[in-house]
């Protein structure tokens, strides 16, 4: 590897349907947001090149993320775990206005880690812009993250809040783990 090398890495977005996986990618890659909901079928691959990050060996590495936007988990529809294969990291996304999307996340993460045990997972509580948090779902989400001992973020694909940072964060931990 020379001093400024390019690495291609596959990452996945997993979580229940409608939590905003596609929207997060759209915000991050194109800086756009759409209120319309068009459910993802199968997988859609997108690419984003990150600014160079310094590795533990003091090398500058340019990370090229191949982002696999995987159709959301839905009851009665089989999960295709093959999609997870070979990924280095993943965002496990929940919608903090829908409690069941947090409930399902444990199983989804478990299923994912079965396929790629060494993958880096970042928990993302999306739709933080929907402010009323009557039933304490934010807290529930933080608790869930603590249980699994995973780092968690709150984001909004709608306003863009924290979106850039979660991707940068995942990029960094991927590089640091090389």
């Amino acid at each position: 590897m020379n001093s400024n090398s390019v690495l291609k890495k596959k990452i996945c977005l997993i979580g229940s349907y409608g939590v905003g996986k596609t929207s997060l990618i759209k915000r991050y890659v194109y800086d756009q947001f759409d209120d319309k909901y068009l459910s993802t079928i199968g997988v859609k691959v997108t690419k984003k090149i990150l600014p160079p990050i310094e590795s533990n060996q003091k090398k500058l590495i340019q990370l090229e993320l191949l982002i696999w936007d995987i159709e959301g988990y839905e009851k009665n529809i089989p999960v295709i775990e093959e999609y997870y294969m070979g990924s280095t990291g993943a965002f496990a996304v929940a919608d903090i206005s829908r409690t069941e999307t947090i409930d399902h996340l444990a199983d989804i993460v478990k299923g994912y880690l079965k396929v790629v045990p060494d993958s880096k997972i970042v928990l993302v509580g999306n739709k933080i812009d929907l402010k009323s948090d009557k039933s304490g779902l934010k807290e529930k989400f933080v608790q869930f993250a603590n249980q699994l001992n995973l780092k968690s973020f709150f984001t909004s694909a709608k306003t863009g809040e924290n979106v850039e940072s979660v991707f940068t964060y995942l990029g960094e931990i991927i590089i640091k783990s090389i």
């Binding site: 590897m1 090398s5 390019v6 690495l7 291609k8 890495k9 596959k10 349907y17 409608g18 068009l38 459910s39 993802t40 079928i41 199968g42 997988v43 859609k44 691959v45 997108t46 690419k47 090229e64 191949l66 696999w68 839905e74 009851k75 009665n76 529809i77 089989p78 295709i80 775990e81 093959e82 999609y83 294969m85 070979g86 990924s87 280095t88 919608d95 206005s97 829908r98 069941e100 090389i178």
Partner: protein, 599 residues
């Protein structure tokens, strides 16, 4: 749409085809149909595929075409083949985005529904766009048969290798890529490799578990993507025309060669693809045995190539695969309904919440549990019927405080300043009985007018949708009945322009009417619909009939016997105000009632 600019292919037949296609919009659409039919013909199990594809087209047409005919033609273009491809090339990547979500939303959410309502909805919606009605008919009626245009196209296609992808199997990351095309625009080859790999993942899971059963051919229109699977990586070769005999052998040899060179690196693949540039030498050599012009990716540098077309192919294939899979009949209905209900839950928070449970049995939804009031109970049922594929809803939701008339009486007591004393006393002395979503009022009142008044007051205070006013008037006279008959014949229920359902305020009149009708003996009530004078005869007759029908249905829902209710359409023949002014027209759009037929 812009016409062809580039003149790339000089083959005569091709030119002919282009001319046919581009003479006129209408002409073009006809050709699109032919190609579509033809595509269907190529698929093995025709009937099945057509069934599978129809809902796709239904919703595509529904959503997109009405919005924009041109955009739709563009979205369909990748399916259509070389000639149109040229044209669409100018609008590039948008197509992928246009194509993907349109079909995407269809399969998952509405395949079951669309199958059922196909003919109906499509015909309804497409009435507007003549040319697409045609398209739909063609899709339905013409099944196979190679069109003339298609034959021309085929003849003009010698065997060609367009692109070679060398792809890491697990991650789908592109290791190396060589193309024979030099100057065309494209999306990122990385995305193509990713999508190809995802298709492979999906097909592997659904159609067979073992390595040997990998799909190794993806046939699409004039193109074929041939896959040569290796241990850690695979080759995907885009070809067209008729394969030469040695092609598959050579391809297999190429894979083995690459495996020898790279297997150690591949075993520890970490995303660094620099090393794999070396593969280009071998791949180019392979290509040269079949083609004369070619370049490898690294030589072309950052210039983009013509891969977007394939990307949209791939996405379409993916979607078709999903279509087949998710169309497996019994599963789709229940899970469709379930996801639709979950979506409603998400969109209308608090409606189907907490103590409301639902179970889905085929196309029937059974509601149970508890909710705060009648309105909610009704709304849940209505919304599920309207917004999901459910055909039937059985609603056994209990309403909290169902039997507590005391709260109602409390309400009346605490806010009866405007009610005069005697009436208030009567109100307090009556009995209120709740049963299902009905409130029965029983007891004695002083006059028929008072009875009616009381019914109206209670209606204002309670949220119960149906009030049965069983109060007994001490000495009911013929005059009382006549009074009500006159009042009923004065009622006019008004409608907004173009609408045949009354708004909420107007609906209240129906409840009042119902209460009055319960007081008088009658054989037949004639319900007449009227319209204003905008638009032609037939449209106004139709809308006035619809208005009368809708009101009749409301009365039946409330409990009146259908045989007592007869409707009539008056169109604009009986105006009560001037049709020259907005206000006048508003008064003319109405439904009236009579106990005698109009003559």
């Amino acid at each position: 749409m812009e016409s062809l600019k580039k003149n790339t292919n000089t083959l005569d037949s091709f030119e002919k085809l282009k001319k046919i296609l581009l003479t006129e919009d209408q002409q073009k659409i006809t050709e699109i149909e032919k190609k579509l039919d033809n595509l269907r013909g190529q698929l093995k199990d025709k009937e099945y595929f057509i069934e599978t594809l129809d809902p796709i087209f239904a919703t595509m047409l529904e959503n997109k075409i009405i919005e924009s005919k041109d955009e739709m033609a563009e979205a369909l273009a990748p399916v259509m083949g070389e000639a149109i491809k040229k044209q669409v090339e100018e609008s590039k990547e948008d197509i992928i985005d246009a194509l993907y979500p349109v079909i995407g939303s269809t399969i998952r959410k509405s395949i079951a529904e669309a199958m059922k309502n196909l003919v109906k909805t499509v015909n309804e919606k497409l009435d507007k766009t003549f040319s697409f009605v045609m398209l739909h008919r063609k899709i339905k009626s013409k099944v196979s048969g190679v069109s003339e245009a298609e034959i021309l196209l085929k003849e003009s296609m010698p065997f060609q290798i367009h692109e070679v992808f060398y792809i890491h199997k697990e991650t789908g990351i592109l290791l190396s890529h060589v193309t024979s095309k030099i100057d065309q625009q494209t999306v990122d080859q990385d995305l193509i490799s990713g999508m190809l790999t995802a298709i492979h993942n999906f097909a592997g899971k659904i159609f067979g578990e073992t390595e040997n059963q990998d799909i190794h051919k993806i046939q699409y229109d004039n193109y074929q993507i041939q896959i040569e699977m290796g241990r850690y990586a695979y080759l995907a070769v885009v070809i067209s025309g008729v394969k030469t005999a040695v092609f598959e052998d050579k391809l297999n040899q190429l894979e083995q060669k690459l495996h020898q060179i790279f297997y150690k690196l591949l075993r520890e693949f970490d995303g660094d693809v620099a090393e794999y540039k070396r593969a280009n030498v071998n791949i180019s050599k392979f290509l040269k045995t079949f083609t004369s012009v070619l370049k490898d990716s690294s030589e072309i540098g950052t210039e983009k190539r013509a891969g977007w077309l394939f990307l949209s192919f791939l996405i379409l294939i993916f979607i078709i695969l999903y279509g087949i899979f998710f169309y497996l009949p019994q599963r789709s209905m229940e899970s469709t309904i379930e996801s639709e209900i979950e979506k409603i839950k998400h969109e209308i928070p608090g409606l189907i919440s907490g103590k409301v449970q639902y179970e889905i049995d085929g196309s029937e939804v059974q509601l149970s549990g508890e909710t705060e009031n009648w309105i909610k109970k009704r709304n849940i049922e209505k919304i599920i019927l309207n917004r999901t594929s459910a055909q039937k809803v059985s609603n056994t939701i209990q309403v909290q405080n169902e039997n507590e008339s005391s709260t109602l009486i409390e309400k009346i007591k605490s806010s009866t300043a405007e009610i005069d004393k005697s009436l208030q006393n009567t109100l307090l002395n009556l009995n209120y009985i709740f049963q299902n979503d009905r409130l029965f009022i029983e007891g004695k009142v002083n006059s028929l007018e008072e009875k009616v008044q009381i019914g109206n007051i209670i209606a204002n205070f309670s949220e119960v949708p149906i009030i049965i006013n069983n109060c007994i008037v001490d000495e009911q006279t013929f005059n009382d009945a006549q009074y009500l008959i006159n009042r009923i014949e004065e009622i006019a229920i008004h409608f907004e322009a173009g609408k045949s359902n009354p708004n909420k305020d107007e609906l209240k009149k129906i409840a009042k009417l119902y209460n009055w009708l319960n007081e008088i003996p009658f054989f037949t009530l004639y319900i007449y619909g009227h319209s204003d004078q905008l638009g032609g005869d037939s449209i106004n007759n139709r809308i006035s009939q619809n208005r009368a029908d809708n009101i009749r249905n409301h009365l039946i829902d409330l409990g009146l016997e259908p045989e007592k209710l007869i409707t009539g359409q008056m169109g604009f023949s009986m105006p009560v105000a001037s049709n020259e002014t907005k206000e006048g027209r508003a008064l003319n759009r109405r439904v009236t009632f009579s106990f005698h037929p109009y003559r």
